[in-house]
Symmetry: C2
Subunit: 404 residues, 2 copies
DNA sequence: TCTATTCGTCATGGCAGAAAACAAATTAGT
DNA sequence: ACTAATTTGTTTTCTGCCATGACGAATAGA
């Protein structure tokens, strides 16, 4: 009998765990609701002022919170001292490898982007070792810049445009099983990482994009379907504010949802998958654009902007196919929002109308808010931001991890 | 920023909450792993023997656990005293209303069915008040029988074959918004319930069937898609051992996943929904079986058993449609198991082969285990069992709810 | 200046689990 | 038969955490 425990931690509840949870509660309250006094926090979370004081002392000592000057606020009584997240404390480093660029970014505890770097690089045709060496250099330089701002990197996450090998999430031994756009197969970044730098944790790019949308995209819903498309089409499912990976880690394979059950054969072996209608290769072909070295999405956007009729038609058809596949997703998962992110967010202008029309036509068994479908506010920046934010979120949700 | 807290309880962690959690931990450990001594429990959960002793004393006092006699077990050292769930303690009462029957059942803390009743009744053509009066009588008589067995009903749950109105789950004010098979619209069972009996909590029949499969169907996976079909087709999504209802409570609408995007118009307004191919009405029509008063699923099973060719073909076609819709579900949700439950589990013999074939053909982008698809082991008994089990699960997961 | 009010801290107490010692019940060995 | 070893369950002492209530500090209003 798989007894579903109340939540999370499987171990026994201990006083240390209680302290831990309350530290997280105080820190995330300050993170969520701007500067607050101790008394404010106590009122919100249901602890006494004394308990909050003790917790805040610990967080101040660890450099996670900073105390502002006391300032009269117009109300009667002794004014409180404002507590805010320390913007000279721990930070998260995000890294990204694309076919034609490298990225590094640092986000502070308050969620502000403090270092942002994105440099062109020809990665597809170079050996992975060289690419990783360049990436490590970018990481080192971003770390230096962050240190100059008073920040301390507490975690490094690399956004990977591909499938990860098995292994505990967070373990440095995890490898990139397959990243077609990079030409990587079985590459283990940790092995080619310089000794001085902490090796990055690997996470799928699309997943990070979804989390970024949730954390810094101004998304209010905590259950959403985040579509990331380029050559392959994937959807990250966020459920209750957490990434849902499925029983075996394969959740969100939107690209292989059947759209026309007797359609053309897909590379996966099935017939009529969404990817055959809306994948970059299929759309390029339908738009009669010859293969070039250019970024396929940029090529499509250029032609569409120029009014190229076959491209416009191809994008409309792709949008319709998206609509059919997303109808399945909406009917099954019932998300509060469907976000078109990744590279395709740059095609939103042409894709969204057909997607919205199909969804409105097909999602009828329950109320469907047309505004629930929208393009990502972060676009291509999502994965890199998400990679840096991941470390921050972990600290906010469990600050004690930093010192024990 | 929707800060995803570690889990569940939003309030601060207190010593009482710690106690509460450890009580649940001890109880669910005993529930999950048969009779155990205090020392055994301590070893498993990571508490000291002293702490477990104190927790067990409380659970014994509350009548949730019972202590067996001490019996030599062949190993060296003082033998432990076996702790088991009390089968003369708290119990859950499940109720069910179908078009042609009423059901009541009592499950004890150990998960054993102690009272089981299912009586034919013509409910479709009678006013809801009369049906509810009969149901209340059945509930009262089942309660009496349970009391004779030394059981104490601690919760009553009614399985409803339809859509519930809004309201806090568990609130007695919730109404049945729409139950087509019963002809109920806006019926509030609590209003027509006798004063002496505790009013039942309402829950959707399909959801309860899925939970029953999880808890007493021998299901080892904790992430599964449970298909419940009859006139309408729904899927309950169980994720991490918990029922997933979606952002607005509409998750699992498998019946309206598009199968052939340009297919016949569905009652929902869309085209080519699964229900148009695999709903009872559609299959009856395709099998050329004239509408009768009989249970449609039983009628189909009868004809199929008799080798009626149009019925066999219709069921095969329905299975193929199921396979297409379930491909979408598997690719999106990545469940560890797909279970065909509800009334259609009686058609599994004819539906499953086509479903399995389509899934094997279409789920190609990831490994797919053919054994992950199976018929429910509980069949039509699922919802009623789940209704009774729901109360038991709640007690096991938080025993303190009984006394404070 | 004095009072009411609110904030942060301090001292005390209660509660829950950890640690260690102890009594009880059994097996293994001589 | 008797002792040693081992395991169980309880008792006692200790530590850590939060609640309670009291106190000084800082502000607005009279």
């Amino acid at each position: 009998m798989p007894t579903a425990l109340p939540a999370g931690s499987s171990g026994p509840a201990s006083q240390q765990g209680m302290r831990r949870q309350n530290l997280a509660l105080v820190l995330s309250t300050v993170a969520g609701s701007g500067p607050l006094s101790r008394a404010d926090v106590a009122g919100r979370v249901g602890l006494t002022r004394a308990a909050v004081s003790s917790l805040v002392d610990e967080l101040l000592g660890a450099g996670l919170l900073v105390e502002g000057e006391t300032a009269p606020n117009g109300r009667v009584g002794r004014p409180g001292r404002a507590l805010s997240l320390n913007d000279r404390g721990p930070a998260g480093l995000g890294l990204e490898v694309g076919p034609a660029h490298l990225g590094a970014c640092v986000v502070d505890l308050a969620g502000q982007t403090r270092v942002w770097r994105r440099v062109p690089a020809i990665n597809r045709s170079r050996p992975a070792e060289q690419v990783l060496a360049d990436l490590a250099e970018a990481a080192a330089s971003a770390t230096e810049e962050a240190q100059a701002l008073g920040l301390r990197i507490e975690g490094t996450v690399l956004a990977v445009p591909g499938v990860l090998g098995p292994g505990a999430p967070g373990a440095a031994s995890v490898s990139v099983e397959h990243a077609p756009n990079l030409g990587w197969h079985g590459v283990s970044p940790a092995r080619h990482w310089p000794a001085g730098l902490p090796a990055p944790e690997l996470e799928n790019e699309a997943n990070l994009g979804a989390l970024a949308e949730l954390w810094s995209g101004g998304e209010s819903a905590d259950t959403l379907v985040h579509v990331s498309a380029e050559t392959g089409i994937g959807a990250a499912l966020v459920i209750g504010g957490h990434l849902f990976r499925g029983a075996a880690g394969y959740a969100g394979e939107l690209g292989h949802v059947p759209v026309h059950s007797d359609g053309p054969r897909c590379s996966c072996g099935a017939h009529g998958c969404l990817e055959q209608y809306a994948g970059a290769r299929a759309v390029l072909h339908a738009a009669r654009i010859a293969g070039s070295d250019q970024d396929p999405v940029a090529a499509l956007a250029d032609r569409a902007r120029a009014g190229h009729a076959p491209t416009l038609a191809a994008l409309r058809r792709a949008g319709e196919a998206f609509g059919i596949a997303l109808t399945a997703a909406v009917n099954l998962v019932d998300p509060a929002a469907v976000v078109l992110g990744g590279a395709y967010s740059e095609l939103a202008e042409w894709l969204l109308p057909a997607m919205a029309a199909e969804l409105a036509l097909r999602v009828r068994v329950r109320p469907w808010d047309p505004d629930a479908l929208r393009a990502s506010r972060l676009g291509r920046r999502g994965p890199l931001l998400g990679a840096a934010h991941l470390t921050i979120q972990r600290i906010v949700n469990d600050p004690a991890r930093l010192w024990d």
